[in-house]
């Protein structure tokens, strides 16, 4: 069940410039969460009132802890980056549908930039199911994060915008180069990347599951802020507008019209 609750920061770590990793202790939210879901975090600065949606990077059900990895994009995430262990924060979650991993087919995890974090928990889940895992990661340059951790879960292919590491180009370029043409794509990253993957999946007749982003207010499907055009009518308004916060954030590539 979704709830708003106070959680406690366990640890905060800077991964690279502008990207932070935080573990938080929840009161049951972690126990109910799974890969691909997100929480919304409230800021303390009262000039900003809406919570910030952040994906779950790791879920430790046993200890009821969550890990998030986030980029400082504005004042809200800047505030988060200043939290110290012991700090009490308000969160809402678990939100969204998350990834449903099909272990019977090769699992292709694809992520770009700040889309990498949710792939960690997805990889862990896939590995637990015994799936065959390939991981494709796109970064701006050689300042990567979570890369070493992800290597534990399967074969990792890297692409960088500036060519300083791995394939010079996008994750799509890397996938073409490595002939990754089988299995199911589970992806998270910027919209152009997801659009590219949708086409890639169609080209090779792969299934794809893409995690989308949009500005959110309620996070629970009530306000209709966070819609994306869908190929079929949605089950809320019957107008081909799916709600990313509840129908998603993970959608089949076939559901979405970018």
């Amino acid at each position: 069940m979704k709830k708003k609750q106070m959680a406690t920061v366990i640890s905060q770590e800077k991964l690279i410039d502008g990207v932070y990793s935080m573990w938080i202790k929840t009161d049951g939210i972690a126990r109910e969460a799974h890969a691909g879901q997100f929480i919304s975090i409230y800021t303390k600065d009262k000039s900003r009132l809406l919570p910030r949606p952040i994906s779950l990077c790791q879920i430790d059900k046993k200890e009821d802890r969550l890990r998030i990895v986030y980029r400082v994009a504005g004042a809200g995430t800047k505030e988060f980056s200043n939290y110290q262990a012991g700090e009490s924060i308000a969160i809402l979650g678990p939100l969204g549908n998350g990834y449903t991993i099909d272990p019977s087919k090769p699992v292709v995890l694809v992520a770009g930039g700040i889309g990498v974090p949710p792939i960690v928990e997805a990889a862990k889940t896939a590995k637990e199911c015994g799936a065959k895992i390939t991981i494709v990661l796109g970064y701006r340059d050689q300042n990567t994060f979570l890369l070493e951790e992800l290597k534990e879960y399967g074969k990792v292919v890297v692409a960088t915008d500036d060519g300083s590491l791995g394939v010079h180009g996008t994750v799509i370029d890397a996938m073409e180069e490595n002939k990754i043409q089988e299995g199911v794509i589970y992806a998270c990253g910027p919209t152009p990347m997801l659009k590219g993957l949708q086409a890639y999946a169609e080209k090779y007749r792969m299934e794809s599951y893409l995690s989308l982003e949009e500005r959110m207010a309620c996070g629970i499907g009530a306000c209709l802020a966070c819609v994306v055009n869908s190929t079929e009518v949605d089950h809320h308004s019957y107008v081909k507008n799916k709600r990313i916060c509840t129908d998603g954030p993970v959608f089949s590539g076939r559901e979405i019209e970018f």
């Binding site: 069940m1 979704k2 709830k3 708003k4 409230y42 009262k46 000039s47 900003r48 009132l49 809406l50 919570p51 809402l92 949009e214 500005r215 959110m216 207010a217 309620c218 996070g219 629970i220 499907g221 009530a222 306000c223 209709l224 802020a225 966070c226 819609v227 994306v228 809320h236 308004s237 019957y238 107008v239 081909k240 507008n241 509840t246």
Partner: protein, 300 residues
């Protein structure tokens, strides 16, 4: 201790309602709050047919609130009656249905379809773009607002609450116009039109350019307008605009509101409504108030 109030003959167990469009049709928030605790559930604006709404980004954050340009996305009256009103039959709370339209016949059609349903009250949102008048809203010209009211009243089986736009020179004139048209009550304020520019990208923050401002930042304007409307008309006033707590609700009631709606605050705290109900009870105890109706318009 009595917390119940009466709007146009309909008794609410307490004055706390939700603001249309911020609470869906109750289903989503029922995971957080017991809808039976609310004075009324007010549903998202519904039209005669499904409306797709505006392109994204539909919302942005502003100091102490937000701008929205959802564009009244809704499934249309058929699905609404079958699914949403049906679901609300499971709760012991009143239901106010918010109605939108692009033209008077569209409003009338929706209101007619609601006649034999479990809707207790109708709230007519006249801040919708008026296609027959070139996109200006029905809610900014007194004579047009009066006309909508009159036509809706002709067919309505339930009491009609006219929801007023704050983007006007005189809210008192607007309230008087809809009272003259036969309204059974007014609710206010809808959102204040605002704009935000992303200066780094040289783009509007919202795809729609402008959006409606709501949240704590608008409260002083809303309280003033509720006070002015309550002093201009005899019909009851439902107050809203930036209410987050029971104390905020009491401020609106002291200004003249008979009931209040909590909107944007639900996004900030999904428990806001029930917490407000509790806070009102605490305030009444602390101040020895036997009947909540005592405080309505008590500050003159």
């Amino acid at each position: 201790m009595n917390t119940s109030v009466k709007i146009a003959g309909v008794t609410l167990k307490n004055p706390i309602m939700v603001a249309s469009g911020t609470f869906g049709s109750g289903a989503e928030y029922s995971e957080f709050v017991d809808l039976n605790r609310l004075g009324a559930v007010v549903t998202k604006g519904v039209a005669n047919v499904p409306w797709p709404g505006n392109p994204t980004p539909r919302i942005t954050e502003v100091y102490g609130g937000m701008l929205n340009a959802i564009g009244l996305q809704n499934p249309g009256i058929d699905v609404f009656i079958q699914r949403d009103l049906e679901n609300l039959k499971n709760y012991e709370t009143k239901v106010m249905v918010n109605v939108c339209g692009h033209s008077i016949p569209e409003y009338v059609e929706v209101v007619e379809r609601l006649a034999d349903t479990n809707a207790d009250l109708l709230e007519i949102n006249i801040s919708c773009p008026n296609v027959t008048k070139g996109g200006i809203t029905f809610g900014t010209v007194p004579s047009v607002a009066e006309e909508v009211t009159r036509e809706v009243k002709k067919v309505a089986k339930q009491p009609v609450i006219m929801k007023l736009s704050p983007n006007v020179t005189s809210i008192a004139e607007m309230a008087k116009a809809v009272e003259a048209g036969g309204a059974d009550g007014v609710s206010l304020i809808n959102t204040l039109t605002g704009m935000q520019i992303d200066i780094d990208r040289r783009k509007f923050a919202l795809a729609n350019k402008t959006g409606g401002m709501s949240g704590p930042a608008v409260k002083p304007i809303a309280v003033r307008m509720v006070y002015e409307a309550a002093h201009a008309v005899k019909i009851p006033v439902i107050g809203m605009g930036g209410i987050s707590t029971g104390r905020d609700a009491i401020e609106f009631m002291m200004a003249g509101a008979t009931a209040v709606s909590i909107g944007t605050a639900n996004f900030i705290n999904p428990y806001a409504t029930v917490e407000a109900v509790e806070e009102i009870e605490v305030f009444m105890k602390e101040h020895g108030i036997e009947d909540i109706n005592e405080i309505i318009g008590c500050v003159e």
